[in-house]
Symmetry: C2
Subunit: 303 residues, 2 copies
């Protein structure tokens, strides 16, 4: 692996995470910037990258590797979606170079055959999950199921280091808009495990979600639940409905342990919902994985 | 029936509809006020009723009958939920009187055994649907299935003039928050029948709704759909998932024609989704029904 210093960025919808990576792969510095692509106007990504990110990261002279929604129509420039099956080799061959020395490279997204007559897309998770696979020799062969909980949760089947297929659930975004914008809105944030578990159980067949959601209002109005429990019950219903339908969409998931990758507290909710259904799972750091992925891509592309 | 003049109000979450009703049941005047209970502060409903509604409706000396969310914790005063089975008699016996002459009466809501271990509740639709039943002798006996499309769509089974059971879907509210607040937001408003029908078909088993929702983003990103089609596809997915799960929740709906009551353009979408699944339906005016319901209650209570 070419071990030159570089700037690694995971630039998503809500935030930009940047790391200065040393010659041996160590993290020299890290910053979280509040400019997700959803908040940027046209041309702003490029400007902020040069006037703020490079200086703050002491990375003016370093090659930069960016993954995530920065490569979408909402970001800096629209980069391709590569068709599955795809591994690190295909991604590295399609890196989009934007500038001369020191250079900016944006990682393409992935396109999967959909399960509903429509294709599915991802940007950012591919780097993280293939980086996670590359971190351990035992993951490089065989079938692996990875779940990225988040605004748009992704469930991905990887076989011998290649992404075969994935499916996206809007679960996190549904939770956010319902909790803040609907009749179910609540200021409660504390985890209520009992209410969460009840929600998971109530959604156990994945069906009639819009009707189950209204029961939250009915449960509060009739005094079955305290209003403070409603956010946890809502989370349980949404994650429970998702987990319940996975075996139908990605049938191989049925008999496999699930690898959860990403935000720890959200991963723990998914682990709990899976466990309630008798499915085992393990939680892994998303930060280390995305850095590993960008470093692998840089090495394969010999940059 | 006692045919004195009165003031009829359907005071819901988003609007107040008021009618001056003449001695023979004719509509003397009608007004739409933009003060749904969601927009009112504590005490404001009573104040607006006296300073604006009564004068504008020329109804200072008339008894007033109010149904809808005005009887909830968000409205004027919290009125009971009456347990199903319930008909006009039970509602009339539990009218809540608020003031001395000329008097204000608020109709109670209904409470149904739920289908998910939680009860279900309604306020406003009970007056409309029982009023509709009372409008025609042929509806007063036998089994009838009524659907009120709306922010919180209600499906109600009526047997021999009694509400037996109902179930609520948050379909309309999901449509609104997703169309305005999520990654699926769009300014498109025109009906695209082909996109709607595709959405209904895609949701045909009612399952994995959060995953199907994300396909709207994927369909637009990959050029399958024009962005203008996405609102109609979203509407089709949500109404399709609802219609698909109804026979499981209210099994008797399977073999019955559906009576759609309420907003005409929304009723027409439901009729289309039902027709796509081979279920026949008819559309009826909600306005006439709610007036008939309030007039029946006034008569039964001998006010």
């Amino acid at each position: 692996m070419d071990d030159g210093e570089f700037l690694a960025c995971d630039w998503g919808t809500t935030h930009l995470r940047a790391w200065g990576i040393g010659a041996g792969g160590n993290i020299l510095r890290r910053e979280l910037f509040p400019w997700g692509v959803a908040k940027l106007t046209a041309g702003e990504a490029e400007r902020k990258f040069h006037t703020e990110v490079r200086p703050r990261m002491q990375a003016q002279a370093l090659p930069a590797f960016l993954c995530g929604m920065i490569g979408s129509d909402l970001g800096w420039i629209q980069v391709s979606y590569e068709q599955c099956p795809a591994g690190l080799g295909k991604l590295a061959a399609s890196l989009r170079r934007l500038e001369a020395k020191p250079g900016v490279w944006i990682v393409p997204g992935l396109l999967s055959d959909g399960v509903f007559g429509a294709p599915d897309v991802m940007r950012g998770e591919e780097t993280q999950l293939l980086g996670w696979v590359a971190q351990d020799a035992s993951r490089k062969t065989g079938r692996i199921m990875i779940c990225h909980p988040g605004t748009h949760t992704k469930w991905t089947l990887v076989v011998d280091g290649q992404v075969i297929r994935f499916v996206t659930y809007m679960t996190g975004e549904l939770f956010d808009v319902l909790r803040t914008q609907s009749i179910l809105r609540t200021s409660a944030t504390a985890d209520d495990h009992a209410a969460f578990d009840e929600g998971v159980a109530a959604a156990s067949d994945g069906n009639a979600l819009a009707a189950r959601l209204f029961t939250i209002r009915a449960r509060t109005v009739t005094g079955i639940d305290a209003p403070e429990a409603s956010a946890s019950y809502l989370s349980g219903l949404l994650i429970g409905a998702e987990v319940a339908s996975i075996p139908r969409l990605l049938p191989t998931a049925q008999d496999m342990a699930i690898n959860l990758l990403g935000d720890d507290s959200l991963c723990r909710r998914y682990a709990r919902a899976l466990s309630n259904r008798g499915v085992s799972s393990t939680i892994h750091s998303g930060e280390n994985a995305v850095i590993a992925g960008l470093r692998e891509l840089k090495a394969i592309a010999k940059i």
